[in-house]
Symmetry: C2
């Protein structure tokens, strides 16, 4: 069974604190504040475990490494800040997607990505 270790507690805390999709490297860097010599292998193992048990879900962002976020959120999409590289959630999605589907095609799912500057980066400069 999955044990409750300081490393896994730290990783879970990182997700609950930041509340946005994180890459393995972001998880590592943030969790090291609590567990200084956390290994990247442990991050991958824990993420895999947490994904298998459904606590995390994988997120694919075009041209970026795999990220993960807490499962169970409402339907939403992602905003990528070109300056700081962070990914944020936003609620809602376009309502007129069905009109765009080509003749004869069947749409089962959709993804929307917005790119730009996040509030922090706009303020910073």
């Amino acid at each position: 069974m999955q044990r409750d270790t300081v490393q896994r507690r730290a990783i879970r805390k990182v997700f609950k604190d930041l509340g946005r999709p994180l890459s393995p490297l972001e998880i590592l860097q943030t969790a090291r504040a609590q567990v200084p010599n956390l290994g990247i292998a442990t991050v991958y193992r824990s993420v895999k475990g947490l994904t298998d048990e459904g606590w995390l879900v994988p997120i694919d962002v075009p041209g970026e490494p795999q990220r993960y976020e807490l499962s169970g959120k409402d339907h939403h999409h992602h905003f990528s800040c070109r300056q700081c590289g962070r990914i944020f959630d936003f609620d809602g999605c376009p309502k007129d997607l069905a009109k765009l589907v080509p003749q004869g095609f069947l749409m089962e799912d959709h993804e929307v990505f917005l790119y730009g500057r996040c509030a922090d980066c706009r303020k910073a400069r």
Copy 2:
């Protein structure tokens, strides 16, 4: 200077014939109909050349290898068929994206991906 070789002619022809975004492997497999022992390195080299001169543009599809398509098309997005794995273009895009941007964020760009079955795959079964 760039020479006009049978390999590059074949690769350009593949893009003009298929008219959809192609991965290096798709290019290789299709172009081998004309140039049987075309090498993958040549595909990468040619694609890089064609991209540098602006004839191709790179396309990132979440969770998939890089693809390329002819430049100069009108604004459009991509449909990914879950059955055959091919990527198709579709025109137009949602008009109500601006409403979705979080407070204080600046949207500079957007991407939309649709997933499902293409017309061929729906017919096939």
